[in-house]
């Protein structure tokens, strides 16, 4: 860990100004990812701007009927908030599928969005990695890529975004509220994370100095038909190999609206509008699920050790759509898959 200065910001403006003034300063919230990366010498900020005292800890009713979640709401508070449990159970489920209770207590909503990939090479400064040190190469492509992406990869990086919560937020069409040196803006969730392309060092469209202030959940109600299905190398406390968030609106035996997002398969939570539109207007039957799965995975490409993810994702999508349609969402306490 390098030496760094430390500032505790009292207001959003102060936080933004502190970061804007210093190109290698970083915000720290729960610290559950950033402090690890500091210890590994992967992140070497010159200053940490502690934002944990900012007044961003509330979950409020939003004007249009949705919820506004402050960026510093701990993951566990968010998961167990009554309004979230009732109106956005998909989000509760996805959060509880991740990490451990201790980590969820410490981790913040904003930090969860900005956690970095778990690619082994990225965490090991003894190896090359385009994301950590641009231009050094991507050893994962020809190396240990069991946990890597099958969709949206580039020749420069095949890392995945590791978050569970974000997969649900993507499915729910959340918006990310940010404030930066040039004022506030709102980013649709689908545009928040980016694909690696030839700039794998950049994970998101957030600009330096911008702080996430809140996540907005729109008013749509998917509480009847939803699920978060996570498949991993042990039954809890492991990152997803493949995860699927599904939110359906079914009326008179017909799927009226469908959201399908995948985790563990790409550099961002993966949504495919074409696949979702294939589901709309159809009865919730396995053939429809199968077709949607095929569509999502049509461009999927495996590497030496992760080719299985394509078939696993196909089956997981079908299973998850079935769980959602039957209103038997996956529970995160009982590890039996429904």
């Amino acid at each position: 860990m390098n030496n760094f200065s430390y500032t505790r910001a009292a207001t959003v403006q102060e936080a933004v100004a502190a970061l804007a003034a210093e190109p290698s300063a970083k915000f720290v919230a729960g610290g559950t990812n950033l402090i690890d990366l500091l210890k590994y010498n992967v992140e070497r900020p010159t200053r940490l701007v502690d934002i944990t005292r900012l007044p961003l800890r509330d979950i409020e009713e939003a004007p249009g009927g949705g919820l506004r979640i402050g960026a510093l709401v701990p993951n566990s508070d968010l998961a167990y908030d009554e309004r979230v449990e009732q109106r956005y159970p998909l989000l509760t489920s996805a959060i509880l599928a991740g990490a451990s209770p201790q980590l969820r207590n410490a981790a913040s909503t904003g930090g969860n969005l900005l956690q970095r990939t778990r690619c082994y090479y990225f965490y090991d400064p003894g190896t090359p990695c385009n994301k950590r040190e641009p231009g050094t190469g991507c050893p994962a492509i020809t190396g240990q890529n069991r946990i890597h992406a099958i969709l949206g990869t580039s020749e420069h990086c095949i890392a995945t975004h590791p978050s569970d919560m974000c997969v649900a937020l993507a499915a729910l069409d959340a918006r990310v509220q940010v404030t930066g040196p040039d004022g506030a803006r709102s980013i649709p969730f689908a545009e928040f994370h980016r694909l690696p392309g030839d700039r794998p060092e950049i994970d998101t469209t957030l600009r330096h100095g911008e702080v996430i202030t809140a996540i907005d959940l729109p008013a749509e109600d998917f509480s009847a038909n939803h699920t978060y299905l996570k498949l991993r190398d042990r039954l809890s406390y492991a990152f997803a190999l493949v995860s699927v968030a599904v939110a359906l609106r079914i009326e008179d035996g017909v799927i009226r609206d469908a959201r399908l997002a995948l985790g563990g398969v790409a550099h961002k939570p993966w949504r495919d509008p074409d696949a979702e539109s294939l589901l709309r207007g159809r009865a919730p039957i396995p053939e429809a699920f199968q077709a949607a799965a095929e569509r999502v995975l049509r461009g999927a490409k495996g590497f030496e050790h992760n080719g299985f993810k394509i078939e696993l994702a196909r089956r997981a999508i079908v299973r998850a759509l079935g769980q959602a349609a039957r209103s038997t969402p996956q529970t995160q306490s009982d590890k039996r898959i429904k």
Binding site: M1, N2, N3, K39, Y40, N41, R118, Y120, Y121, Y123, D124, P125, G126, T127, P139, T142, G143, Q144, R146, I147, L231, D233, R234, L235, S236, Y237, A238, F239, L241, F308, E311, L312, R315, A316, R319, K335, R336, I337, K338
Partner: protein, 745 residues
């Protein structure tokens, strides 16, 4: 038989070190303090093979608080001969010498030690050391190197080489009506004890050192330090009062010990070096191996031929060896058998013993093969094993000191409900899940090693027992107290146990599951000597109630010596001591197995393990919902700590079956998932019911106290039982561990 409620041996007793551990009073190697303590951080190398061409420490040295950066260029000179680096359990070869020269032998090799006034300065400075390398071609893939395998020219002491062939195995195999032949493999595993390796070296002045080391053998670390640095034996004391798990990783001294001692001697001050979790993956590991098992049998599953061959990885500088291929010969009767075991050189650090070394590896293959034979011949898997039950050690042609494996099969099967098993694979479902039941046998060699102990009875009737072994979490403190308490009829609280110190009476390293048998016997013998002396004194007192009573007629109970059939005639221990004018009675004794017994008999601990799995076949998700294991391990001194040992072993076996895997990038020659987020051990959600049964087994030969040992047996066979249950559930035979979900899709 009713137990005597005053006796401690055989009764479940809580750990006597438990309170110290949960209150934090127990100090581990990295937790000892000294007023002038300096902190060392290891800089790990990046390449797998080659040479260091330059080291630039200037930026590191410029960090405030940095005292020194040690490299091969400026380290003090140490011993020249390999001999001096060879510890008690070193395999044949040339042990790795930290910071010795510019040569790089494995990825993550320590290439510098940064020492600073505080940990953070050292850690930061370590990140600033600039090293350039000239890489040479490396090889880390066993699959790619297996074609160059060789029979190790020098045998590792204490490890059985493959037994000589019996009969004509290849001929009998081809002539057999039923032939099973398959390849088996398992992943590299790292031990990953909770406590990382660490050494705190306290500079006591005048060149004297007290070393708190993470080790399973304080005397092993002691002789290593003395030999390598040319010190006087009396100037060095190694302590390891508490050890936070080790699983074999603490058998050999590791490089943090060398580096901490080197820095302390050079700087003439106290130094602590703690490895990071990542660096724990640069130490030893359970080697990957490629095995082939061939079983030839008649149509009833009676074995005609067993052929077991294995190739394992080792380092380029040492020939680590373990016994992978002999186990079938100890378990099953078969007239024709052939075994082979070869090594292949890899550019990694030397592998080492990890819980049930060789047996966990070999038995997973043998016991899956036996399940395949059972399926092929339509024989019940338990019945198949009974049909082939060995009544003597087939490899060595020796009788067993005891073998209650039949009772293990019977009792575990009964508890598990095995008789209700539908033999057809894929026949049982529960909701979406396929249900499978599988079983396997477990075996581990029972050893007793020569060990010494001291017993010291004080005037107030308290007893101290001491021996230089270690408690790596197994419960050694507690069982030694139980043995001491019973020998003199004391309460547990009246007995204190001193272990984990090189200056105590000579002990073998803690390992091989031999500590209870060896050190337990030594404590028993020493306490018996004290007891005899005490009795002599008691009988000699004026007006002694024990006058003219022969020793066989007295009992030591409740702090008193009494005539067994006339408890009214008794005297308190403290009274004897006072009347005889004694401050203490102290005896040091050595216990050892009778060499004639060792020569004539073979001795093993056995188990039968039954597992239930539920498999969501579509998604490859496996849950191990139930395990019943019956263990025959001679006398069980403490059923509570014993059960914990078996539970831990079974959990580790489930990990071996489903989770544990260190993945190497062979292009870089480096293990990649070097942290506990990505190296998966079972989480709580992966573990359900585990029931442990201890089968009665009387053994008057293995050790004076009838104990065989328990540390390893829990893991042996577990992976096979899980794999066999998965086969029963799904009809899929997976022969490579861990069985991750992709292998079931």
């Amino acid at each position: 038989m009713l137990r005597d409620p005053d006796l401690h041996v055989g009764a479940p007793r809580s750990r006597i070190d438990g309170v110290a551990k949960v209150t934090g009073e127990a100090r581990y190697a990295a937790e000892h303090r000294a007023p002038d303590l300096a902190h060392g951080i290891v800089v790990s190398g990046a390449i797998a093979r080659g040479r260091i061409t330059s080291i630039d420490s200037s930026a590191a040295l410029a960090v405030p608080g940095v005292i020194q950066v040690f490299t091969h260029e400026n380290r003090r000179s140490t011993a020249w001969l390999d001999y001096n680096y060879q510890d008690e359990v070193a395999p044949p070869g040339s042990p790795f010498r930290p910071l010795y020269d510019a040569e790089i032998h494995f990825s993550g090799q320590p290439v510098a030690l940064v020492v600073a006034e505080d940990y953070d300065a050292a850690a930061y400075a370590a990140s600033l050391v600039r090293i350039t390398y000239e890489a040479a071609e490396h090889a880390t893939s066993l699959e790619a190197q297996a074609y160059k395998s060789y029979v190790p020219p020098k045998k590792r002491s204490g490890i059985k080489p493959p037994s000589p062939p019996r009969g004509d195995a290849p001929g009998a195999f081809t002539a057999s009506p039923v032939m099973i032949e398959a390849d088996y493999t398992h992943a590299v595993e790292h031990h990953n004890p909770m406590e990382p390796h660490a050494s705190t070296v306290i500079w006591e002045g005048d060149g004297k050192l007290t070393v708190h080391d993470k080790t399973q053998g304080p005397q092993n670390s002691h002789s290593y330090v003395v030999a390598v640095f040319g010190l006087k034996a009396d100037d060095v004391q190694v302590k390891n009062a508490y050890v936070g798990g080790a699983f074999g990783l603490g058998l050999r001294p590791h490089y943090q010990l060398f580096l901490a001692v080197m820095a302390a001697l050079e700087l003439k001050r106290s130094v602590r070096v703690v490895l990071t979790r990542d660096q724990m993956f640069t130490l030893s590991y359970r080697p990957h191996s490629l095995q082939t098992v061939k079983l030839g049998a008649d149509r009833n599953g009676k074995l005609n031929a067993v052929i077991h061959a294995a190739v394992s990885g080792t380092s380029r500088f040492e020939d680590y060896q373990e016994d992978i291929v002999n186990w079938s010969g100890f378990l099953y009767q078969c007239d024709n058998a052939a075994f082979s075991y070869e090594l292949a050189k890899l550019d990694t650090y030397t592998p080492s013993d990890m819980r049930a070394p060789g047996a966990a590896t070999g038995m997973f293959a043998v016991e899956i093969a036996m399940d395949e034979l059972a399926a092929e011949t339509g024989t019940d898997p338990v019945e198949l094993r009974l049909r082939n039950y060995a009544d003597k050690d087939e490899n060595q042609d020796k009788p067993f000191t005891s073998k209650e494996l039949r009772a293990c099969y019977a009792q575990a099967a009964e508890r598990f409900g095995w008789s209700r098993r539908n033999p057809e694979p894929r026949a049982t479902t529960e909701g979406r899940e396929l249900v499978g039941w599988g079983m396997a046998s477990g075996i581990w060699e029972a050893f007793m090693q020569k060990a010494s102990a001291r017993a010291r009875l004080a005037a107030d009737g308290t007893l101290e027992v001491a021996t230089a072994t270690s408690d790596i979490g197994t419960g050694t403190y507690t069982i030694l107290a139980q043995i001491g308490a019973d020998a003199l009829g004391l309460r547990m609280e009246q007995v204190s146990v001193k272990i984990g110190d090189s200056s105590l009476p000579t002990s073998p390293i803690e390992g091989g599951s031999w500590t209870a048998a060896s050190n337990g016997s030594a404590v028993m013998v020493a306490c018996t000597a004290v007891r005899e002396e005490l009795f002599r004194k008691a009988r000699g007192l004026d007006g002694s109630p024990l006058a003219n009573v022969p020793p066989e007629r007295v009992v030591f109970r409740g702090g008193r010596i009494a005539v067994a059939d006339d408890p009214s005639r008794s005297v308190a221990i403290s009274e004897v001591m006072r009347a005889a004018g004694l401050e203490v009675i102290e005896r040091e004794e050595t216990a050892q197995q009778d060499p004639a017994t060792t020569k004539r008999y073979a001795s093993y601990t056995h188990s039968a393990i039954f597992a239930e799995v539920k498999v969501d076949e579509d998604l490859g998700v496996v849950r191990v919902t139930r395990v019943v294991v019956a263990v025959a391990a001679g006398k069980i001194i403490n059923p509570k700590t014993a059960r914990s040992q078996i539970l831990g072993g079974v959990v580790m076996g489930i990990g071996m079956a489903l989770h544990e895997e260190t993945m190497a990038d062979h292009n870089l020659g480096r293990f990649m998932n070097h942290n506990l987020a990505e190296y998966h051990v079972p989480a709580n959600a992966d573990i359900h019911d585990i029931e442990v049964i201890f089968v009665e087994e009387h053994d008057d030969k293995i050790s004076p106290i009838g104990v065989k040992g328990l540390g390893e047996i829990g893991i042996v066979g577990t992976a096979a039982a899980v794999a066999n249950a998965i086969f029963h559930a799904t009809g899929k035979r997976v022969r490579s561990l861990p069985i991750t979900l992709d292998k079931l899709l």
